[in-house]
Each structure stands twice: as C-alpha cells, then as structure tokens.
Amino acid sequence: MGFLRDLVNAIFTGPTLGPVLIFTISVGGVLALLRWYRVLTRPKVAGAALVAAVVAFALSLGDHNFRLIVAKPDNVPIVMLFFLVGFFTWLALRQAALNDERIEQGKPPREAEESEKSLTWPDLVYIEFLSTVFVTAALLLWSILLKAPLEPPSNPTETPNPSKAPWYFLGLQEMLVYYDPWMAGVVLPSMIIVGLIAVPFIDPNSKGSGYYTLKERKFSIGMFLFGFVSLWCTMIILGTFLRGPNWNFFGPFQRWDPHLLFPLVNVDLSEYVWVHWLGVGKPNSILLREMPGFLAVIAYVVLVPPLFAKRLIPVDIAAKIRGSGLPKALGEVLAAPFAAKAFFAEMYQRLGFVRYNVLMLLVLSMMSLPIKMVLRWTINLKYIVSIPEYFFNI
C-alpha cells in the first residue's frame, strides 16, 4: 500500500505530468467508450470497473492527505458527481448498446416496445411520490450527518491560498491555467451557453430521437461526452481535489505544501518565432510582433472549416490505406486524419453552409482548449497572440 502511494505521489510531482495523466485518462476513457461501448458496458465489465473504483476510493480514504480533501463537507457533492456521472454514462451507453443491437437486427428500439399507454394516476404519480420521499430522506440524513461548514468571518485583507470559485465553476478556473480571464471567464462560457442552445439547430440528424442509441448519432454524442465528461467534469474534479495552494497540482496523497514553487518557463509564440527561430529579437510594432500568432489563429478559425469541407482528396483514401496491407493498428492511425477529412466533407454536404460553419466554430472553440493544453505541456507555449498592452492574449 505504502509503495503504491509513494508511486502515485512520485508520478504526480511537478506541474505537468499530473494534468497530462488525468486528461489522458479522461479523454482516452471516453474515446474507448465510444469505440468499444458494447463490450465495456456489459454488466460484468462495468461492474468490475465500479468495484475497482470503489475499492481504490475506499483504500485511498485510509490516507490522511486524501481524506483531508475528499471528506471536506463541501467536497462530498463532487465525490457524488464523480460516481453519478460514471453510473449514468454507463446506464445510457448500456441501453444504447442494447438498442443498437436490436436496430441491426431490424427490430425497433426497446422504448418502442412499450408504446402502449398507461394511466398517469397512479402509475406515474406514485413513482414521483416515492422519489420525493427517497430524496427527502437522503437529504435529511445528509444534513444530520454533515454540518454545513462556516468559516471565519470574511476578511478582505487575508486571502486564503488557494482561493477557489464555487465548485461548479472550477472548470472555468482551471481554464485560467491555459487562457486569460477574458477567454476562460467570458468568451468560452458564453460560447458554451450559445453552443448548447444551438445544438438542436446544428444537428439535423432525425434519427435517435426519443431512445438511447450511439451508432446512429456517434458524432453528436461523442462531442457531448467529450465536452461534458472529458473536459467539464474532469476539470471540476481536478480543480477540487488536485489543485492546492498557488493553484499548483498535487497528487491525491500529497500534502498541500503552500511553499512549493515551480519556476514558470512558459514562452509566447512571438518569442519562439522572432527570438528562437529567426534570431532577430521581437519587433517594436505590436502588429508585426504578433503577426505569427494572428496568422495561426486566423488559419485555425477561418481556414480549417473550408479546408475540411472541400473534397480535396478522394473520399476512399482512408479505405485504401486500411486495406493496403499495413499492420492493422498503423493503418488505422494513418487513415484516421483522412477519414476525419472525408467525414467533415460529407457533413458539409449534409448541413449546408451556415449550419456547418456554426458547428465548426463551436467545435474549434472547444478543441482549442485541449490544443492549448498540449502546446503548454509539450513546448511550454503560453500565448499564441500576446498583447498585454491591451489585455489581449489568446
């Protein structure tokens, strides 16, 4: 046990490896679910995962530092969130797996089998009544067992370290590591809200309405799982349990040492281009200095959607690569970008100009976060465009 704990602590030491591991697990987990959901949601497999998670959690509770964070009364809901999101992701994908099998056999989804009507009184009303009784009992128990915390009176001269936003906004606070406040706190949250409202209008797929399925809506469900589970919920859990004083990353069994310091070696793109690569020093003109960054951002936002939409390459090139006799895994990896390209070209045909561009803007905004994360972890890139003179950093 002690060995395991030391191992975990050793892995998580430092500002980079921890977040890299956490996001690799969460993104990889969602990708694996999308790929192998029929196997992974089988009761035996999912049950084993649940048992493993509960056992790991229970064993971790033996550790003092872990208990200190997890058992804080205000953090209990985040532990609940972790298990509930896991459970309901399983429940949804399990039913999707069963339905997709039925649809392949030419049968309607399970929900359609129960289309005969039932009287709301008493069939629905008693379910509602029982749920409210159950929730009331649970809340009363929770309230009796855990006292709502009350910290010392507010003191504007004494800043706690770390100062954290309410837990449901910790995803935004975590984004501050990679983005300036105007992006992390204003632009991206607004885009999340607008993007959610836009969902029904940019998803013209009429299939998969009113029943669980994954096969018929792989892209939309994949995007949602990626945004909600891999990014939003993961960042909340990371921000609550693993971000300590000075917003440093701490392993689950590490002591939150307020004196821990990591030198920041983050570098802007302009420095890379003008100083490191061209060796001429940054130009005085802001516009010239940030030109590489502007070009990169414009290329990302303006050029990627039409490039993906055009049929520049034959549609079947991915199939050709897969069938070219290369080792299977290598063939899949090499074919993936071409398959994605063909997928988006086909999507442009389906969605039309406006829908496609709105969708791409939203997808690119969401993807900019993992892209910035990877750039930070690999080449210590801080800002792509950096104009601190006007608080304009991207």
């Binding site: 509930l84 429940l91 929900e111 709301t120 855990l146 910290e151």
Partner: protein
C-alpha cells in the same frame, strides 16, 4: 335518525360518509380513483396534477429512461424555496449581521438543520440539472419539435448556477467572499466592458477612459470595486427574489412546453 355506533366506527363506511359531505365534494370533484374515469378526473381536476397528461406511454415511466432527474430538480427547487424562506426569518444581509446570524442559525435556532438542507440540496440541484441535460441529450430529446424547450432548459441551467452563485456569498465567511471574488474577477476581463478586458482601453474620449474600475462590468455586478456591503445586498436580493422569480417563470414555460411538444420524448 342517528347512525348506530358500529356503522360509524367501520373505516370503510366512515370514509364513505366523509366523502359524501358537502365540504369534501366541494374540494374533490371526483370519486375514489379506482376506475379509469375517476383516475382521469383526478389528474385533470387538480391544478398541480394537471401538469401531467391523463395517460402516457409506458417507456416514459421507466426510471432507466428518464432517470427522474428533471422532476427531482424541480423538487429540490421547491425544497430550496421552503428552506430559503425559513432561513430568511433569521438572516440580515449586511456585513455587520450576516456572519453573526449564520452563527446563530448554526448554534441556537431550533431544528438546526434548515441551513444544512438548503446547502446540500443546492449542491444536489446543480448535479441533478446537469444529469437531466445529460439524459435529454443522450436520448436525442432536443430534436424537433422540442428545440425551443431545450433552449429554455439551457437558461434554466444557467439560472440554477447563478442562483447557487449568489447564495454562495450570503454566509459572509472567508469561503464566501473569496469564492465570489475569484468568480467576479472574471467580469473585469469582459471584452470592452471590463477595465482589464481587451479593447476597453480603446474606449476613451481624449484622455478620459470610459471603462475603468469604477464603472465596468465587475463594478456593476458587485456594486463596488470589491466584494463589500453593496455586493452582499445585491446578491441577497437576486438570490431571494430575482432569480427565483425568473426560474419559476421559466419552469412554468418549460413544463408547459413539455406537454405542448408531446409529453415525454419517445421513438416515433
């Protein structure tokens, strides 16, 4: 002629005689709900129950389909309203009294778990509203004809978060003011409207900055340059009156549209 005592004590007969009184009949305009007709009447003659249809498809009753999350979110909203009302009896939203009142609530007020129920139910409500959205997305229930109601739902989610956020400040302890400080600091970076936001320094007449720390988005949110007495009052009013009214209105629209758009979603 008075009824014999034995007849009065028989529960079935007693119930029947109560149900035949003028008072009872004035409240319930239907018989005991043991026939389809009376069950239907039960649903449509009650203002709360008539939110539901008389009949519904069986798959919509399954917890594995609905997860009951929308209903639970509404139920938690009701719990928050009731416990919040009780808490308002004991709480004054000024820096002098706020924290003192919290201690009083904590130590001296009888049946001292009102604040606990309010706080834990608030956390739970954020989780249930997310899971409700999760379920609605995964069953494709935002698809036509339910696009508009999905949008209402997104606003309900945002207002739930804002309701919780404004409530976060009210204990007026260290956790409260620093969490709100972190949260509201984002507002000063609003493009053009926050004094540390991109473009704000471009908005000026001569040497006069139009957007500065004394009039920007953060100032508007807090009623001051930092989290102080005006922010506490502002958040209190929004928490107890503003957002609950908005939320209640949107909930009414949401429920109404659920019915109008064909009830719980299901395969075509």
């Amino acid at each position: 002629m008075p009824k014999p005592l034995k007849e009065l004590l028989d529960p079935r007969q007693a119930a029947e005689s109560v149900a035949s009184t003028q008072v009872w009949k004035s409240i319930f305009r239907h018989g005991y709900p043991d026939s389809p007709r009376n069950r239907a009447l039960t649903m449509i003659s009650n203002v709360f129950l008539h939110l539901h249809p008389i009949r519904m498809k069986k798959h919509g009753l399954r917890l594995r389909y609905t997860w009951c999350m929308g209903g639970l979110t509404f139920f938690l909203f009701l719990i928050e309203t009731i416990t919040g009302l009780l808490l308002m009896f004991y709480y004054r939203p000024t820096p002098e009294y706020a924290h003192y009142d919290m201690q009083y609530l904590r130590e001296d007020v009888p049946v001292g778990i009102t604040r606990e129920i309010h706080r834990w139910a608030a956390h739970a409500m954020v989780i249930t509203v997310w899971l409700h959205m999760f379920r609605v997305f995964l069953t494709g229930s935002y698809k036509p004809p339910r696009e508009f109601n999905w949008g209402i739902g997104v606003f309900l989610l945002v207002f739930t978060l804002l309701l919780s956020f404004t409530g976060y400040l009210l204990p007026w302890d260290q956790l409260a003011i620093w969490a709100i400080t972190v949260g509201s600091n984002m507002a000063r970076a609003t493009p053009f409207l926050g004094h540390e936001g991109p473009g704000a320094s471009l908005l000026k007449i001569g040497d006069l900055n139009l957007v500065h720390a004394g009039d920007d988005a953060k100032f508007g949110l807090l009623g001051g340059r930092f989290v102080g007495a005006p922010a506490l009052l502002r958040f209190y009013v929004l928490h107890c009156v503003g957002f609950p009214l908005l939320l209640a209105t949107l909930i009414a629209v949401h429920f109404w549209r659920v019915r109008r758009d064909g009830g719980i979603s299901g395969p075509a």
